[in-house]
Amino acid sequence: MSLELFLLLAAALFSVGLFGALTQQSIVMLMMGLELMLGGVILAAAAVWHYVAPAATDGQVLVVLAVTVMAVEMAIGFAVVTALFRAREVDVTDEAAELKA
């Protein structure tokens, strides 16, 4: 086990999550991709804490931050989907493209 292995694993999770966030049509599935990406971030932060600076607590604080971001993202995401569905009966990303340039 080494820092590189953990970071490669985190990068793999991040890339898989990015693929999901880019390809999924359903907004709920898109958010699952974002969750997977943040899972990679959590793993990377924990690995950097353990292998680079275990004496400092900054790595742990970063994990706390990522976990909070996950919770906020889920809550706001579902609230936006609910508002969007109420207004226009839309639950697919392709139909919510008003802001597309």
């Binding site: 953990f6 970071l7 709920v28 959590i42 793993l43 804490w49 706390v64």
Partner: protein, 187 residues
């Protein structure tokens, strides 16, 4: 070296179930695959010596996926995979982009001159985290607190169909509620 075995087992399971999230037809199965993947992440955080944060990740993800399952049922395109259909768009472009992102990250990870490990972890990393959050990192803690509170307010505002301002006007002084259907509840 049980740690190494655990690392490879959890790591492989995390990536495989992460991929399966986007391969399953059924969104319910996809939710459980994501749960498995994030539980493995929690397990790996515990392997790294952060017992408390690992357990927090495990507990939080379990509850989060349970809540997600409810929303799945509400906004599901393809219930239980009964209707085989593609739920993807722009698959090729995204695959190329993600491969590029992974290669870029991997190159950075392999080539970067990582610093040597400095210092040793505190005897009780959880206590160190708590002391940091209530001491030097209090600004982080306060920002997170405000962000979470703002989230509560924003989600309620976004998810409410008609609030009291819609029913009683902006100054809340209308004598009767402006409801689309008569006979609703009072104030």
């Amino acid at each position: 070296m049980p740690d190494v075995a655990v690392f490879w087992a959890l790591g492989a399971l995390a990536v495989v179930s992460g991929v399966m999230v986007f391969r399953f037809d059924s969104m319910a199965r996809a939710t459980y695959a994501l749960l498995l993947s994030l539980l493995c992440v929690g397990g790996l955080v515990i392997v790294l010596g952060l017992d408390y944060l690992g357990v927090v990740v495990v507990l939080m993800m379990t509850i989060e996926m349970a809540i997600m399952a409810v929303f799945m049922v509400m906004y599901m395109m393809n219930p239980a995979g009964l209707m085989p259909m593609s739920m993807l768009h722009n698959k090729k472009g995204a695959a190329v982009l993600c491969t590029l992102v992974f290669l870029l990250l991997a190159a950075g990870i392999v080539l970067a001159p990582w610093p040597k490990r400095s210092g040793r972890p505190a005897d009780d990393p959880t206590k160190a985290l708590g002391t940091a959050l209530m001491g030097p990192h209090i600004l982080t803690m306060m920002t997170l607190g405000f962000a979470l509170f703002a989230t509560i307010v924003a989600t309620v505002v976004l998810a409410t169909r008609r609030g009291r301002y819609d029913r009683f006007g902006d100054d809340l002084r209308a004598r009767t509620a402006d409801d689309p259907v008569r006979g609703g509840v009072g104030r």
